[in-house]
Assembly symmetry: C2
Homo-oligomer: 251 residues x 2
């Protein structure tokens, strides 16, 4: 059996990416980072998903990014509510236009710093992929799955396809595995999908979205706020997909 | 004042790299990773060095790489003693040949997996540089200093000049700072220096090497074993430099 590392946050996207890896017959090694995120109830969601997916091993790595701060997710900065701040060209990927839910090949645009939301966590994906790389080397896995997608890269520099391609090159220079000629690959099976398309695909694969949490600012019991960007996008995605959203929203 | 992140392990190289950054009139922000290393007395050395250097802030980030293992430094694997395993072409950089202590421009060679020692920690520098990148973004620093050198890259893939260059490219794609056009740079002021040259340079700059610890397998009181690769290389470096080695060796 071939092994893959799956970055599992507890959210909708990573659950779907992991389910796709499983259909490709990888043995899954899940990695979740407890980074001091405001929405730490997602860690419990990640544990439930890892069990549900039947992973071979689940590492929950502690790493307190509040030491650096600089984000609404890791510092005392309010999470914006009811003011979706995504690039006009990508509103379609999120289903916020009449043509929502269609394919997203044309969503790419040059990223400006004004497009980057306050929920951006400095260097987060570089840190997470680096940890996945360490896990891959010691597991003998040549494949890493991450759930970045078209919607993410409208605002987060470290979700863009060119960033992922560059990280893959780095991974092969950085490691014993690369020196040994094992070609390490970063898989982004959702990168060209809209939110509705992701939900469709996951539903086909039997992902239990009731186990996932997307909210950036949830209640202690895991109920979603219903008003942060992540909730607004999730709700609309389910609507556009015509799939029942099992999330418990506060309002 | 311009700010720089300095990766400070507590060893000889990073202490020298930090001292060089200081002469270039950066305000120093030190970063040390408590990664579950066998030689954790180096963390105390890093604290003493940070104080001695007068850094503006010192973050000691906890990150337990024993969750992944795979190295003599992070797993229950013995540290090799009295069997220096470095590439013949780089023995000169370490001062283990009559011509030792000279310049190391010609030390580069294609890395084979047999050259990589068991003290290699999977993806370590990628993880450390990623954390330095997060710290840089939230500090407003565009410069990161790391003490990799010719001797390291004889065996560690993530110390090679081509690896560092690739990480720098990635850093500028990965971050808000990069999107904003701030050019992030990874500085490797020791990369072409032999161990003796590093000690010469640090001595000129007033580095107190008595504060540093290089040993991979020290006693609880910080005394160095005197027999691991790191001790053998350090001892020879001081001999070749004609500088008194202030290290307390067990034998």
């Amino acid at each position: 059996m071939k092994a893959a590392i799956v970055l599992l946050s507890g959210g909708l996207d990573s659950a779907t990416a992991a389910a796709i890896a499983r259909t490709e017959e990888y043995t899954l090694y899940a990695l979740t980072i407890d980074y001091g995120q405001r929405h730490r109830v997602e860690l419990e969601a990640a544990r439930r998903l890892a069990e549900n997916l039947g992973v071979a091993r689940h590492v929950v790595q502690q790493l307190d990014l509040r030491a650096f701060g600089g984000s609404a997710l890791t510092a005392d900065i309010p999470v914006p509510k009811d003011q979706l701040s995504i690039h006009p060209k990508t509103q379609r990927a999120a289903g916020f236009s009449p043509r929502g839910g269609t394919h997203s090949d044309d969503f790419g645009h040059a990223l400006n710093s004004s497009d980057i939301p306050i929920t951006y966590v400095p260097a987060r994906n570089t840190i997470f992929l680096s940890l996945a790389l360490a896990y891959a080397e010691t597991t003998g896995a040549a494949d890493i799955f991450i759930g970045v997608n078209a919607l993410d890269y409208s605002g987060y520099p470290d979700c863009r396809p060119e960033y992922i391609a560059r990280f893959q090159e780095l991974a092969n220079l950085a490691t014993r595995a690369g020196v040994e000629g094992q070609h390490l690959r970063i898989h982004t099976p959702l990168i060209q999908l809209t939110k509705a398309e992701i939900i469709h695909r996951g539903t086909e694969l039997g992902v239990d979205y009731g186990l996932t949490i997307s909210c950036y600012d949830p209640a202690a019991d895991g109920a979603a706020c219903g008003h942060c960007d992540s909730c607004l996008i999730r709700r609309r995605g389910f609507e556009q997909a015509g799939v029942n959203d099992p999330t418990r929203y506060i309002s």
